[in-house]
Point group: C2
Chain length 344, copies 2
DNA sequence: GCATATCGTGGCAGCGCTAACATCAACAGG
DNA sequence: CCTGTTGATGTTAGCGCTGCCACGATATGC
């Protein structure tokens, strides 16, 4: 597994022999056990260096019944959100000294979730983070009697399983309030698929913000996150004359919608203002650059791992008692040129 | 790790006891060893079912010195290409019964690569797939005396380490030839960063296709894959009057370029034709829909895993001798509305 | 009929490590 | 001077599984 001048890689006993101690003392040094004299510790570390010794994770896990790998159940990692979340989790896990094993859900239902979690359990992970943005996935997860520490990335906070997510309601409120502040009186919303939890949060934020301003909510439109569905919704809106502001459920749909408007001679933001959600890297370079809501996925990842380590160590006797992280990560409004005061 | 009616999960001995055999026979059944009588096998499998027994991967790995996990070294998994490749590899690995552990390269240099490979080696992976699209990453990989089976995803075929990739030269040729076929005599190219191997392949395909048609190559422009760099290149090209066709190194840059052209009243495809590369999901919904080159990442993943299993089993005595997969995956041209015959 | 090959099975050892207990020196207090 | 206490180390026993060898039981050869 590792290059050596010898035929085989060094094991703990080789280190012990070279340092003139027992293998147990080596183990103690490696695990920061307090009662090792500084002189011995140094001798052991020197031997470790000399032999380029690396502990065997499997043996460690077997003996200690605990692995240093967390599992991540993900879904459609081509999408910007899940991909970013996965990356954030991976970074945070590695910073905490954990490896990351992933399973991508092929079908988002009960059996798919069971299969994914079993695949991870078979790898003896210490805990799992489930990126379960859909109601079906979340339901499957919560219905499962899982024997592993788990954390979910979903807006459905409050179940048995700790959940972390960007505050979708606040994000939507930022978007809608921005449009209202510009003077728009009617803000349309093209939501994501109804079976996504984030969709619910964004719809709720949209509705409540309009209500708070005593404005009626126009009919809700539903897309599927794709640019295509944004395009189609855009075609519908283009037929109306009472459209001045749209809050799109994500940037891709905003992109598609802008294309539909462009085809019909509707100018953005002169005729219609559009706000997206996500702040994908391309958002800045659309025509015009897209005003949108940015989510801090690295922060989501960090809190997930913090919550997971907390859950893992809760089973341990000597738990350091980590604080429970705030489940809601705050989104921010990114102002660009796709929004302006209404002119018609 | 797994829910039981009992306090603890069943182990092999529990299964053996219930089936009335030795734990060794259970092991044989689980490992498809030939010499077990059908009656015994069935009894064991029934006991496995009844106890919901799942073998412990760590113990298996320890005893057999072989794990069922492959490592993937990835880079910038937010980018469409790497994310798709990762997904393809994950699917293929899981289909082959392997788990997938990932490490994302934070810095693409020698030490970053060493750290990533060591992190995976520490997890006792059976082999690694390195998504190393940059020359630095590839160089680091090839310079390392790694003790694990490895496969690279890169266009630099021919080293010690088996490599799989989409045929970039052919992809570029498809793009440029398409523009030539439409009647364009001068095809510009905005390449990706020069330190990416794929960039070299695409430049080579562009150059050689022009040469084959006895046409001079205009000055090469270099971007960084981002829509922003495409926008900037677009601003430069917009100042010239001799631009009728551009082959962009990826779809994001094509997107940015289209925005620059749009701002300067240059119509696509009426004034300038643009071909992208990747076929990102949004490509179909840009203004106008983007003609581009599609890469089959699932196929790349499948061949990577095939090559990796071949390498892993080469170390084994009883290797089933898998065939060596073709290292080049063929790309395809996707025709949309961003290309047309020249009018000026 | 006996020696020999073959099959199905069990026993034993060991993978590399950690946990729990055992040991032993050094030192404190009475 | 003896006992109790503490800190540093070694010893022993597994964790749950697979590899190898051995064993008895059939099947096969002459």
């Amino acid at each position: 597994m590792r290059p050596t001048s010898q035929g085989r890689a060094a094991v703990m006993n080789d280190v012990a022999r070279l340092a003139g101690v027992s293998h147990q003392t080596v183990s103690r040094v490696l695990n920061q056990h307090p009662s090792v004299s500084p002189a011995t510790r140094e001798r052991v570390l020197e031997a470790v260096r000399q032999l380029n010794y690396r502990p065997n994770a499997m043996a460690r896990g077997l003996a200690g019944r605990r692995s240093r790998v967390v599992g991540v159940v993900s879904f459609d990692t081509i999408l910007y959100g899940p991909a970013s979340t996965l990356l954030g989790i991976e970074r945070a896990a590695r910073a905490a000294g954990y490896g990351v094993s992933i399973v991508t859900l092929e079908q988002v239902d009960h059996s798919g979730m069971v299969a994914a979690l079993e695949a991870l359990a078979d790898q003896s992970v210490a805990g799992v983070v489930v990126i379960a943005p859909q109601t079906a996935a979340a339901a499957a997860l919560h219905s499962l009697p899982l024997g592993v520490a788990a954390v979910a990335v979903e807006s459905n906070v409050g179940g048995e399983i700790p959940a972390i997510s960007v505050d979708q309601v606040t994000g939507a409120r930022l978007a809608v309030q921005h449009l209202l502040d510009l003077g728009h009186r009617k803000v349309w919303h093209l939501s994501g698929p109804r079976d996504w939890l984030e969709t619910h949060g964004r719809i709720e934020g949209w509705r409540s913000t309009l209500e708070a301003a005593d404005l009626p909510a126009p009919p809700l439109m539903t897309g599927d996150w794709s640019a295509r569905s944004g395009y189609q919704a855009g075609l519908e809106l283009a037929r109306r004359t009472d459209v001045t502001a749209v809050f799109a459920g994500n940037d891709q749909m905003a992109l598609g919608m802008m294309r539909a408007f462009h085809e019909h001679g509707i100018r953005v933001p002169d005729d219609v203002s559009i706000v997206g959600f996500d702040d994908i890297p391309e958002a800045e370079f659309l025509s015009p650059p897209l005003t949108t809501i940015r989510q801090d996925f690295d922060e989501v990842g960090r809190r997930c791992i913090a919550a997971l380590l907390r859950a893992i160590e809760a089973d341990l006797p000597e738990g350091p008692d980590r604080p429970e992280p705030d489940p809601y990560v705050a989104p921010t409004l990114v102002l660009r040129r796709s929004t302006a005061a209404p002119k018609r």
